[in-house]
């Protein structure tokens, strides 16, 4: 594969830097040695303003092979952020100033106080004992699914004045004793009573803060802080809040002036609004779903793959463990429930695997509609051993499979077991993971 072929680049790099100081010993992202957040899943990953969602559940895959207890804290950042919400004040202030004439209160960051830390439910959890909701296997690995849902953090529909609106609300509560909650940072709800227009506060907020977001969607983020002993990891996950369905709030989008084509209008039917960009009704995105994970002995790309699936659980597939001799390699191929769509088509759009984006044409200065097909990539993680490709993606590696090479020695502290995780992303916010185990044989 190209990625692996690009291993040859080490020759180039080493030649270019005369091999004197290439940093060869830095950790790889696929090596899980301590506290890590491997993925955060939002269900659903995308919010359409029509229909409005009931609630969104955030879940994170948090692991620490050292067996330490992990504490988590969730926050919700109502604005898109490039810095895990540390830039919130800047973003908020801009918009708040803009909106000051409307006596409108900007939304604020809120903590979710009743996040639940749950044991990770994997395919093979017959080992270890569950203590206080933490599954333990000789205390070598803690794996959690930390979850914020329902009352803790939700986007709920509200219809003041009979109009569609989107609200963020938080309710206090402490579901477990892993941490305490700061009550002053809780339960902030934006005031919708003084809105001068018939839109929700977040709509207005995004529209005034960034016209582009009002058209193509905005990405408020959930922020997770996980701590394990002295280690701490901050992670963020966006949800895609899409406003541009032609059936909703279209009148507001007509004034959008992106600098490329002004004014830019979108519509469902050009005969009604000549000159507008005709967009499809958007089908809400969902997270990818694993249908199977298969494996093949050896490294050969032409080897026959065998299914590992032995059942389903609520959080993924139940997979048969792989057994690999130390130092040897297998190939692992994930499969997904997804229509067989390679090019955009009507059926693909209906099925929800195709979607549209707006893109600028730099030659003409206009904005065009680009039709895209979901394209899943898989990130690979293991507590020991190496992957041929840490990331597989059909457009880059042709297939989604990769090579896993077992460690040269049998890991004694885990009785020879190694944990693997596959984290799949659909390139537009959908995310799913799958765990599996490998037994290293002498």
């Amino acid at each position: 594969m190209v990625m692996r072929s690009l291993i040859s680049w080490r020759y180039i790099v080493c030649l270019l830097c005369f091999s004197a100081g290439c940093a060869k010993d830095l950790d790889k992202a696929s090596e899980v040695k301590d506290l890590r957040v491997l993925g955060i899943r939002a269900t659903p990953p995308e919010v359409l303003d029509s229909p409005l969602p009931g609630s969104i559940r955030f879940e994170a895959l948090v692991v620490d092979p050292r067996g330490n207890v992990v504490n988590t804290t969730w926050r919700f950042c109502p604005v898109p952020s490039d810095r895990a919400c540390s830039d919130y004040e800047e973003n908020k202030n801009e918009s708040y100033d803009n909106m000051s004439g409307d006596a409108f209160g900007a939304p604020t960051i809120s903590n979710a106080c009743n996040a639940t830390l749950l044991p990770y439910v994997g395919p093979l959890l017959s080992f270890g004992a569950s203590v206080d909701g933490i599954t333990n296997n000789r205390n070598y690995l803690n794996r959690y699914r930390t979850e914020v849902t329902g009352d803790a953090l939700e986007l709920v529909t509200d219809t003041p004045n009979g109009l569609a609106s989107l609200d963020v609300s938080f309710t206090a509560g402490l579901a477990n004793d892993l941490r305490t909650c700061d009550p002053t940072a809780v339960a902030t709800t934006v005031d919708t009573q003084t809105l001068p227009t018939q839109i929700s506060d977040l709509h207005l907020f995004y529209f005034l803060s960034n016209p582009i977001e009002s058209l193509v969607g905005s990405w408020p983020t959930a922020i997770l802080t996980a701590t394990s002993g002295p280690d701490s990891v901050i992670a963020q996950k966006r949800i895609n809040v899409v406003y541009r369905n032609p059936g909703a709030a279209q009148n507001l989008l007509g004034v959008f002036t992106p600098g490329l084509q002004s004014p830019l209008r979108i519509c469902a039917d050009a005969s009604i609004d000549p000159g507008c960009l005709v967009v499809r009704e958007r089908v809400q995105n969902t997270n990818p779903v694993f249908s199977d994970v298969r494996y093949a002995e050896g490294e050969s790309a032409n080897a026959e793959f065998t299914s590992l699936r032995i059942g389903n659980q609520s959080n993924g597939l139940t997979l048969e463990p792989i057994r690999v001799r130390r130092g040897k390699a297998v190939r692992i191929l994930p499969e997904f429930i997804q229509g067989n769509f390679e090019e955009p088509s009507e059926a693909c759009f209906v099925a929800g695997y195709c979607y549209e984006t707006l893109a600028a044409d730099l030659n003409t200065g206009t904005v065009n509609i680009i039709e895209r097909v979901e394209s899943i990539s898989v990130s690979w993680f293991a507590t020991q051993g190496e992957f041929g490709d840490e990331l597989t993606w059909r457009k880059f590696t042709k297939t989604l499979d990769t090579t896993y090479t077992a460690p040269d020695e049998v890991p004694t502290d885990t009785d020879g077991w190694v944990d693997l995780w596959l984290v799949a992303r659909d390139q537009r916010g959908g995310l799913q993971w799958q765990a599996m185990r490998v037994e290293i044989l002498p």
Binding site: V2, R4, S5, F18, A20, L26, A301, T357, A360, R425
Partner: protein, 931 residues
């Protein structure tokens, strides 16, 4: 009238016949100021050196003669445009009794007129009159019959004496038969002797700077013996090993380096252009191998490089490997770190002016240079009125590297991997003179290619990546000396640049391409007028017409707010094309006024007009330079100048890429300095400088309202910076000592064979993107705007990328016996600043599956890399044969394998970092043949 503001090296030989003692003259302009110095013209070129036509023998002081004491007198001789000696002055003498005889003799010399820019001109030369006590009369000692040359006797012994290796005539060589000097060679190296007795005789041939050649010749009745003797220089020509610093000039800060002077400096690969990296004002380029022009804390793009007055797009192959001009084609390199005159524009930092060789070629000469990286050829030939020189080089790393790569163990399915970097350059020059016109035609260009090919991988995914950067240019120059006070120089130069990158994989159906073709014509007209001895005026126009075609087939991310992903689709390409017109014209003038009390002042101005794509700008830039000779050999100098240039093209593209409304970058240079000559070979130059830079493009948060549209400003002129510091250059020039003199100490021995310099720069360079409390505004309509303050990080000053507090460079070169020459370069430089990252600054982004750094509270460039130091050495050994010479050289970079940290590489979550070092111990072996 003579000129002092150019670098001139030539030599002449004379013989003091009366005492049968060779004398040697070294002729060169020394740049030593004189109160009666006439006003210099800018950048003249010595096209013909003066030759001694009539030698007047000095009277050997009787007492010294009896005592057998040799001696030397160093004279300055001012030669007028007719070749007559206008004035001679004694600089120093080994014995006072030699002074007057040498002065009297020199006053009667007659020379052929020197030609500057092919016009007979006055010149000052340095003449070294050597007194050598005559040998005892052989017949007195040995009783042999004296040989008395007489026109009545038959001619039976004639021939020529040539310089071994170069086949150039040696004038003034002695022919000694049986111990008795009987003849000397003329200007063409010829000699004739009549009436040599029949039989076998011991013949010695000795030249002023050469080994004595001894042979036995047999003379037979009725036959004339025709011979050709080759003498080897006793060392490399000392005149070619002078390290030349600053000659008299108008600018406060300018260093001129001659080709032959610096072709063997260690660490430069024999590349004179690379030597400027060792001068004050130049920051060390990252990577250990040099390359970038980092002048006084500015970016590399802020400096310009000219070849014979025409800008070239690049000066180094692959960004720093070696320069694009064959060293054999170079005459000299001028480096202006700042404060330069109005002649140069569109630069806010430094200027490098490369002058190609003034061809002086009698017969067919040339050389071949082969080392581990490339092979080069230089040759010259005279055809009628025209003299031609050609040079070219090509690397052959592409032939070696694949073999090395194949030898590296690799995984079975990785396939065959080919790496093919190639660089080449060429120069072809012709020159001729027609009346008052001196014509030059120069074709030159360079071609860099880099190709990476992966074939036969197990998965069947192969790829090819290629990079090509080439330029070709023609330069036509006419120097018309209208009168002896008025000269017009016209330069027209059409050129072409092609920059192309292609990355493709058939299996993945991916092809990315970037192609930029730039074409245009540069045209310069320069008028020089010298109405009086104390005033000279220069002015000119500087124009460029052309454009560029840009084609990009690449995965340009044009999605409006694309959702973050862990992947990048190289196959999702967009085609972007542009035709970009580019025209500029400038008008400049300056005048140099020389007062009678040592003050020289040169005010000037430059008016630029740029039309690039959608950008039009004007600029008026006043500049002034002043020099004041407070004492003989001591000069105080000062300069001020305003310098402007357009931002680099990417900043001026249409939104959302750039901002065509950006204003020109602006820099003000303030310089004061002092020069002092301790001796004739040791001098020092100290400069204090302050560069104030403004209008540097910075990312802008503003949204403006124009033509009914809200537009992101993208870039603003809010950025700025300043660099201040002190530069010291302490030089030891080579002196022109004859090889066979008696040395009294090691220091005395080294004095004639050593040259080098110590360059030290103490400086600080600061940058800012926005001034403190700077604001940006979001304009929503005509006049309606909301204003916000940039955050602290965006409006805080920080150390510039290449800020280096201490830069110390020591260069030493030593000419050794037996054709050896050794040199070393040592550099000690402060580490470059960097922004330290640590785990706490990073967060995991679950959508892009990567860690990002929140730089909000991370001070920018707040730490430094470890101190850089490196020693490079070079050793040359030359064997000289009759018809050619052969040299072997070895150059070792980073002798003690210092692992200098150039960068830090972080792991995926910025938790750990590893230092990246580059140039390790790196030897290069080469050979060179010259004929």
């Amino acid at each position: 009238m003579y000129r002092l503001d150019s670098v001139i090296i030539c030599s002449a030989i004379a013989v003091c016949v009366g005492h049968v003692t060779p004398a040697v003259a070294a002729i060169e302009s020394q740049g030593q100021p004189s109160q009666n110095d006439p006003k210099p013209l800018p950048a003249p070129v010595l096209t013909k050196a003066p030759e001694l036509l009539r030698l007047v023998n000095a009277t050997y002081p009787q007492e010294l003669l009896v005592a057998g004491i040799d001696g030397m007198v160093l004279l300055y001789i001012d030669i007028d445009a007719t070749g007559e000696v206008a004035r001679a002055t004694v600089v120093n003498a080994s014995h006072d009794d030699f002074r007057v005889p040498a002065l009297v003799a020199a006053s009667g010399f007659i020379f052929s007129p020197a030609q500057i820019d092919d016009v007979p001109s006055g010149i000052r030369i340095e003449y070294r009159y050597v007194f050598r006590a005559p040998l005892p009369i052989p017949d007195v000692i040995a009783g042999a019959p004296a040989i008395k040359p007489s026109a009545k006797l038959p001619l039976n012994y004639y021939g020529e004496v040539l310089l071994a290796g170069m086949r150039r005539p040696i004038s003034g060589a002695q022919i000694v038969i049986d111990g008795r000097p009987v003849a000397e060679t003329d200007i063409q190296g010829h000699f004739e002797i009549r009436g040599v007795p029949i039989g076998k005789h011991r013949v010695k041939v000795r030249g002023p700077f050469h080994d004595t050649y001894i042979t036995d010749e047999v003379f037979t009745p009725g036959e004339a013996l025709k011979v050709r003797y080759f003498l080897r220089q006793t060392s490399s020509n000392p005149f070619e090993t002078v390290v030349r610093g600053k000659v008299k000039r108008r600018e406060a800060a300018k260093v001129t380096l001659g080709r032959s002077e610096v072709s063997k400096i260690a660490g430069t690969g024999g590349d004179p252009i690379r030597v400027i990296e060792n001068l004050p004002g130049m920051s060390r380029a990252p990577g250990g191998a040099g390359g970038a022009l980092l002048v006084r804390g500015a970016n590399p793009t802020d400096s310009r490089v000219f070849i014979d007055g025409i800008e070239v797009p690049l000066i180094y192959h692959f960004g720093g490997l070696t320069s694009v001009v064959n060293p054999n084609m170079l005459e000299e390199v001028e480096f202006y770190p700042g404060g330069f005159g109005a002649r140069y524009g569109s630069t806010i930092a430094g200027v490098v002016q490369v002058k190609t060789r003034r061809i002086n070629c009698e017969g067919w000469h040339g050389n071949v240079d082969i080392n581990l990286l490339h092979a080069g050829l230089y040759t010259c030939l005279k055809v009628g009125r025209w003299t031609f020189a050609a040079a070219g080089r090509r690397s052959y790393i592409d032939a070696i590297l694949p073999t090395v790569l194949k030898a590296i163990p690799r995984e079975e399915d990785e396939g065959i991997f080919t790496l093919a970097p190639v660089y080449a350059d060429y120069q072809l020059k012709g020159q001729a003179r027609y009346g008052a016109h001196s014509l030059d035609i120069l074709f030159f260009g360079a071609d860099d290619r880099f190709k990476v090919i992966q074939e036969g991988s197990a998965e069947g995914i192969n790829f090819e990546i290629s990079l090509k950067l080439a330029f070709h240019r023609i330069l036509l120059k006419d120097t018309w000396r209208i009168t002896d006070k008025l000269m017009l120089r016209s330069i027209v130069s059409p050129g072409y640049v092609r920059n192309q990158f292609v990355g493709q994989s058939e299996e993945l159906d991916v092809k990315n391409e970037f192609k930029l073709v730039i074409w245009g014509v540069q045209w310069r007209e320069e008028l020089e007028y010298e109405p009086t001895q104390w005033l000279s005026i220069r002015g000119g126009i500087d124009m460029a017409f052309g454009g560029a075609n840009l084609v990009i087939d690449a995965p340009i991310p044009t999605d409006i707010a694309a959702f973050p992903t862990p992947t990048f689709d190289f196959g999702d390409t967009r085609r972007f094309t542009r035709k970009i017109p580019n025209t500029s014209h400038a008008y400049w003038a300056e005048a140099t006024l020389e007062t009678g009390f040592g003050l020289q002042i040169t005010p000037g101005f430059r008016l630029d007009r740029w039309d690039f794509h959608h950008t039009q700008d004007y600029s008026f830039q006043p500049r002034v330079n002043a020099r004041f000779e407070v004492l003989k050999g001591s000069v105080i100098k000062a300069a001020y100048g305003l310098y402007e240039k357009l931002p680099e093209p990417p900043f001026l593209m249409e939104r959302p890429l750039g901002n065509p409304a950006l204003e020109p970058l602006r820099s003000q240079h303030f310089i004061v300095g002092f020069e002092h000559a301790f001796t004739d070979v040791i001098n020092i130059d100290v400069q204090l400088f302050y560069n104030l830079r403004r209008n540097i493009p910075s990312p802008s948060n503003s949204v403006i309202y124009r033509d009914g549209k809200q537009l992101a400003e993208v870039w603003s002129n809010d950025g700025g910076g300043e660099t201040y510091g002190c530069e010291i250059l302490l030089r030891h020039l080579a002196s022109n000592k004859p090889e066979d003199r008696v040395y009294h100490s090691l220091v005395d021995y080294l004095r004639g064979r050593f040259y080098g310099w110590i360059a030290y720069t103490l400086s600080r360079s600061l940058r800012f993107d926005h001034a403190p409390d700077a604001t940006y505004s979001l304009q929503q309509g005509q006049g309606a705007a909301f204003t916000y303050r940039y955050n602290d990080r965006a409006s805080k000053r920080y150390l510039a990328e290449f800020d280096q507090t201490h830069i110390l460079t020591i260069v030493a070169q030593l000419i050794l016996p037996m054709g050896f020459e050794a040199g070393a370069r040592f550099r000690l430089v402060s580490g470059n600043p960097f922004t330290p990252l640590q785990r706490g600054d990073a967060y995991f982004d679950a959508d892009s599956a990567s860690y990002h750094v929140d730089l909000t509270n991370v001070p920018r460039n707040s730490r430094r890399m470890p101190m850089f130091h490196q020693l490079d050495i070079r050793i040359d050994k030359t064997w000289t044969f009759d018809l050619w010479s052969f040299a072997v050289y070895v150059e070792v970079l980073n002798v003690y394998n210092r692992k200098n940290v150039e960068q830090f590489q972080y792991d995926y979550r910025f938790q750990n970092k590893a230092p990246m070092t580059f140039l390790p111990f790196f030897p290069v072996l080469g050979v060179k043949g010259t004929w």
